[in-house]
Symmetry: D2
Subunit: 337 residues, 4 copies
C-alpha cells in the first residue's frame, strides 16, 4: 500500500512515520512538508535516522512520485482543507488529523475554527473512532481522525449515554494531558521551565474539543448532550487521563456498570476495561494504541469514568493507522501490537 504523509514536520507525523516503518503493508512513497532546501526528514527529527530518511517534497498530490493509495494529513486545521479535496479528487483515500472534517455542522465548525474552505466534503467525512463507527470507516474515502481528548472522553461515555443511564444535562469532564498535547510550537508555554513541576488548567473558558465530544455523543445516543470540559497540562511528555463526572438517572449499580463496560468493549482489541478497584494510568498505555477505562460509583448516583490514552498514539497516529487498517480490510491490529 502506497502512502503519502502530508505535513511531515508535525510531532504526530513523527510518530506516524515510526508506525508506518514497522507496518508490514505500508510503503511511504511521499513526504509533504515545507522546509527550505528539501531536507531529509531525519535531519529534522534526528531520531528517525535509519528509520525514515526520505526527503521532504511538496504538499500536493502531484508531488507524489505515483498515486498513493492513502494519504495522511498532519497539517493544522484550516490547512488540511486546502489539500484534502485535491487528493480526494485524484482518487486517494484520506485520513485527516486536523479538526477540519470532524464536525459535519458547518456553522458549529466556523464558530470554533473560522471559515471553512471545503464545506462540501464535510458530510462525506466519517469520524474515525473504529470502536463506534467501524463499518462507516471501512467504506469511507475521507476519515476525520478524532481529537486526542475526544477519543478518551467519547470512549469513556459512549456506553453510559447509549444505555440512557447518564443525566445528559450536566456532565463535567476534567482532563490532564502531557505537554505534547500542545503540539510542537516553540512558545513560552511550551518551555521546560514553564511546564516542569507545574500543573495548570487552560482553555477553561472553552476548548474546541468540547463541541466535538458533544456532537459525537449526540450521534451515539440520539439526544442533546451538555458537557463542560476543562483540560489541564501536566509535566510529562505524552498521555491523557480524563475523569468524567456524571449523574446517573436513578441509582447506579457498580456491578451492573462494570458489566456494561466489559460487554460494550468485549470485542475491541484496543480498549481494556480495568477490573474493579484498578485505575487506568497513562504510563500503561504510553507508546500504544490502547485506551484503558475504569468506571466507579459514588454516593449512590454519581458515576466517575476515568480513561487513559497516549495522545500521540490512540489520540492521533496509531488511531490513524487503525483507521487505515479498517479502510483497507487489513487485520485491524496490523502493525499496532
Amino acid at each position: 500500500m502506497k502512502v503519502s504523509v502530508v505535513g511531515a514536520t508535525a510531532y504526530s507525523s513523527r510518530e506516524l512515520l515510526k508506525l508506518l516503518a514497522r507496518h508490514p503493508e505500508a510503503d511511504v512513497i511521499h513526504l509533504g512538508g515545507r522546509r527550505e532546501g528539501s531536507p531529509c526528514i531525519s535531519d529534522i527529527f534526528t531520531d528517525l535516522r535509519g528509520i525514515c530518511d526520505m526527503e521532504l517534497g511538496g504538499l500536493g498530490v502531484e508531488d507524489a512520485p505515483e498515486k498513493p493509495d492513502v494519504a495522511f494529513f498532519t497539517l493544522p486545521h484550516g490547512v488540511s482543507q486546502q489539500y484534502v479535496p485535491k487528493y480526494l479528487a485524484a482518487g486517494v483515500r484520506c485520513v485527516d488529523f486536523s479538526a477540519d472534517y470532524r464536525l459535519p455542522d458547518l456553522a458549529l465548525y466556523e464558530a470554533w475554527y473560522g471559515k471553512h474552505a471545503d464545506p462540501q466534503n464535510l458530510e462525506r467525512a466519517v469520524y474515525g473512532l473504529p470502536e463506534l463507527f467501524r463499518e462507516e470507516i471501512a467504506e469511507a474515502d475521507l476519515v476525520a481522525n478524532p481529537g486526542c481528548y475526544p477519543t478518551a472522553v467519547i470512549l469513556s461515555l459512549a456506553p453510559l449515554v447509549k444505555e440512557g443511564m447518564a443525566d445528559l444535562g450536566g456532565i463535567f469532564v476534567d482532563a490532564k494531558s502531557g505537554v505534547s498535547g500542545r503540539g510542537n510550537k516553540v512558545d513560552e508555554g511550551s518551555m521546560f521551565l514553564e511546564c516542569n513541576e507545574d500543573v495548570r488548567a487552560y482553555s477553561v473558558a472553552g476548548h474546541r474539543h468540547e463541541p466535538e465530544m458533544e456532537h459525537v455523543l449526540e450521534v451515539v445516543c440520539g439526544e442533546g448532550v451538555d458537557l463542560t470540559f476543562v483540560p489541564h497540562l501536566v509535566p510529562m511528555d505524552r498521555g491523557i487521563l480524563s475523569t468524567a463526572f456524571v449523574r446517573s438517572k436513578g441509582p447506579a449499580d457498580a456491578g451492573r456498570l462494570q458489566e456494561l463496560y466489559e460487554d460494550f468493549y468485549a470485542a475491541e482489541p484496543f480498549v481494556r476495561v480495568c477490573p474493579p478497584g484498578e485505575q487506568p494510568r497513562t504510563k500503561n498505555v504510553a507508546f500504544t494504541n490502547y485506551c484503558d477505562i475504569a468506571v466507579t460509583v459514588r454516593k449512590g448516583d454519581r458515576i466517575i469514568v476515568t480513561a487513559a490514552i497516549d495522545n500521540l498514539m490512540k489520540g492521533a497516529s496509531s488511531q490513524a493507522v487503525q483507521n487505515m487498517n479498517v479502510m483497507f480490510g487489513l487485520e485491524e491490529t496490523l502493525g499496532l501490537l
Copy 2:
C-alpha cells in the same frame, strides 16, 4: 518562643524545621522522633546540615529540656491523639498536622479513621484555616492543621457557599497532587518508575479528605454540602491544583463572581485571586504559603473554581507557622515571606 517538633522524621517536619530556622521568634528546643540511636535530624535529612543539627529525642512532653510554648505534631493520625492530651495537660499549646482533631463529630472520625483515643479534646480543637477561623485560632490551645486538599478546596468554595450561590447538592472536585502528597513512605506506588511520566486517579471510591471538606463548608454556610472528590497523582514533587465544578443557583455573572472573590480575600496576605483570564499554577506557589484562586463561568450557570497551593507549605508546614503566628499574636506573615 520555645518550640517542640514531635514526629520530626516526617516530610512535613523537614519543611517545618526549615521555616522555624528562618523564623525570627521561634527557637526549636526539642525534636521528638523515633530512630535507633538518637541520630541527628540532619543525618536523616542531609539537606538540613547547618540548618538544624539537633538530635532526636523522645516524643513526650517530658522529653523536652524545658516546657515549650508550642508543640507541632507531625505524627500520623491515630498517633497524634496519644501525645497531644499530655502536652495540653502540661499547658503547651498544640498544632496538630494529623487528621485527629479536624472532625468534631466522633462518629464521622471513627467511620473514616478508626477508634479515637482522645475524644474529649475533639471539641476543644479549632480548625486551623486562618482565612476562615482567625479569631478562634487566636484563642485556641489546640489547632487542627487542615489537610492539604481541604485547604485548597475549602478556600476555593468558601465565598460561593457563604454567599449561597452554589447548588450544594452536587459539587464535583477533581484535584491533582504532586507525589509528596503520599508522604514519605517507601512503597511501590512511590517509586520514581511508577510515578514519572504518569497520571492516575486514586481513592476514587472515597478519600478521607472528602468529609473534612464537607464538614468545614457546612460550618461556613450552615447547610448540608454534598461534594464528590477525586484526587490524582501527577509527576512532580509538590503542589496541588484543585478544580471544582459547581452548578450555580440561577445564572452566574463572571464579573460579579470575580468581585466576590476579590472582596472575600481582599485582606488576606496569603490568598491571591487571579485577574480574569489568568489561571493558578502550582509552580507559582511552590515553596510559599500562598493559595492562588481563579473563578470562571461556563454555559451560563456552571462555575469552575481552580486553586493552587504547595501541599507541603500552605497545605501543611507554613500554614502551621501561620497558625502559630496567629495564636501568639505575632505578625501573621512573620517568617513566611
Copy 3:
C-alpha cells in the same frame, strides 16, 4: 522458535516480553517467576494485559511445557548461575542478562560479585555484543548479555583502542543513567521524591561494570586498559549517556576520527555515528535498540566520546533479542525496528 523467560518479574523481562510479543519468529511458551499463587504476569505488570497474559510457572527447565529452543534469564547475578547449567544440559541455548557469565576470569568475578556456583561454564560463554563478537555469538549456546553501562562505553571506545589511538593508562568515563538503571527494587533511593529534580553520583568508590569494560576492551585491543568509571543517576525513566575522556597518543585529527568511527560501524544496523557537530541524546534512542555515538577533539590531543543507549533496550532486552537473532541465523534486525 519456542522461548522461555526465566525471572519474568524483573523490569527487563517486562520489556523483553513486549519485544517477543511483536517478534514474528518467537513464541513464548514458559514464564518462570516466583510469586505466590502463580498469578498472570499481566496482573503484576498491568500494561501487559492483552499483550502477554501467561501465568508464572517454576524457574526450572522442567517447568516448561516442552523443551524451549532458547531461554532468557533475567534473574539477579548469583541466581542465574543456579539455573543456566541445567538449561544448557537440557540442550537449551541460553541468553543470560546477569553478570554471571560476563567475566571469564573467576577471580575477577568473585572479587566483585562473590562465590560463583558454575565456574565451569565461564569459558563457554560468549560476550553478547554483536558489533564486536557476532561470529562467536552465532555459534554460542551461552551468551552473556552485556551490562547497560558497558554496552555504551565499549561501543564508544572500541574503535579508538582497536586502532591504538588511545592512551590506555588513564581513561575517565562519566555516565548518566535514568532511574530504571537501579532495577525495580523498592527502596528509599528509588522513590520519586529522592530522584526527581536531583542528580547524584553513586558507586564513586568503584562500580561493578568497570572491570567488565576494562576486560572487554582488553580483548578488543590485546593490551591492558586502565579506566575509571563514575556513574550518576538523573531524573528520567530510561536512557544512558556516557561521556568518555581519553588522551590521544599524539595529536588527534577530528576528521580522521570521524571517519574512523563511521567506517568502524558502517555495516552496523544499530550503531549511528552522529554527523560532526551533533550530539547523541538519550531521547533519540529511547525504546529502540540504537546506540548513537559522537567523537570530538579538544585541545589537540583530548578525545571526548559520547554515546547514548536505552538501558532497558540496547542495554538489556532488545540486545538480547538481537543476540537471539544472531544465534538462530535470523535477520539481525527482526522484530527490532
Copy 4:
C-alpha cells in the same frame, strides 16, 4: 540599603527579587528592564505578586528615583558593560551577573565573547567568590559575580590546586545542569519535549566557562591550569552537579584529602564537605546558597571531586547577595538562611 536591579526580566533577577524581598537590609528602589508599556514585574513573573509589584523603568542610573547604594546587573554579556561604567561613575557599587568583568585579560575575553566596550574597568573588577576572595570583595566597587559552572568547579578544585596535589596538565570536568542553566530564552532546545526524559552533552567543542575556570584556578595556585570541561543538560529545573577527574601528583590518601577539604572550608558558612561515603545531591542544595562537596580517591592516584550547587542561587542570585553582604560589612549569611 537602596538597591537597583538592572535587567529585571531575566530568570536570575526573579530569584534575586525574592531574596531581596526577604533581606532585612535591602530595599529595592529601582527595576530596570525593557518591556513595552512599563508593566509591573509581577505581571511578567506572576509568582512575584504580593512579593514585588514594582513597575519596570529604564536601565540607566538616571532612571532610579534616587542614587542606589548598590546595583545588580542581570543583563546579558555585552550589555552589562554598557551600563556598569555609568553606575560606577555615579558612585554606585556594582555586582554584575554577566561574564563582562570576570576575565581581566582583554584578549581572552574578546576571544570568547567579542569586543569589549569597557576594557578600562576590567582590572577594577573583583571575582565574586567570597570563599576565595572575601577581602577583595569587601573593598570592591565592581564585583563580577561568577558563572554557575565555575562556582561549582572552582570550589571543587581550589583546595587541590592550592596544595599542589593535582597534576595541572590534564583535568577533566563533566558537569550536569538543570534546564534553567540555559536562561529564559524561548527556543527549540528549551522546550519541555526536547528536554524532558533526555540527557545530552552540549558545547563539547568548547564552553565559555572553561577559560573562566582555568583563569581563576591559576590565580589560586600561581601556575598554568589545563582543564577540559564538558557540560550536559539534564531534565530538572535547577541545580548543577560537577564531577572533576584529577590525577594526583603521587599517591593520594583518602583520609588526608578529606581532612584537607574539611579544613579548607571549615569556616565557610555555605560550603558543606560531605562525610566520607556521602555524595552531594543537587536536591539538597536547591533553593539555597550551599555548595556541597565530596572528594574520593580511586586506583591510588585518581581523585574524583563532586560538587552540587543551585545554579540560580549559589551559581547566581544568592551568591550576589552574599557578595553584597560582604561588600557592605553585613553579616555574610544575612537573608540567605
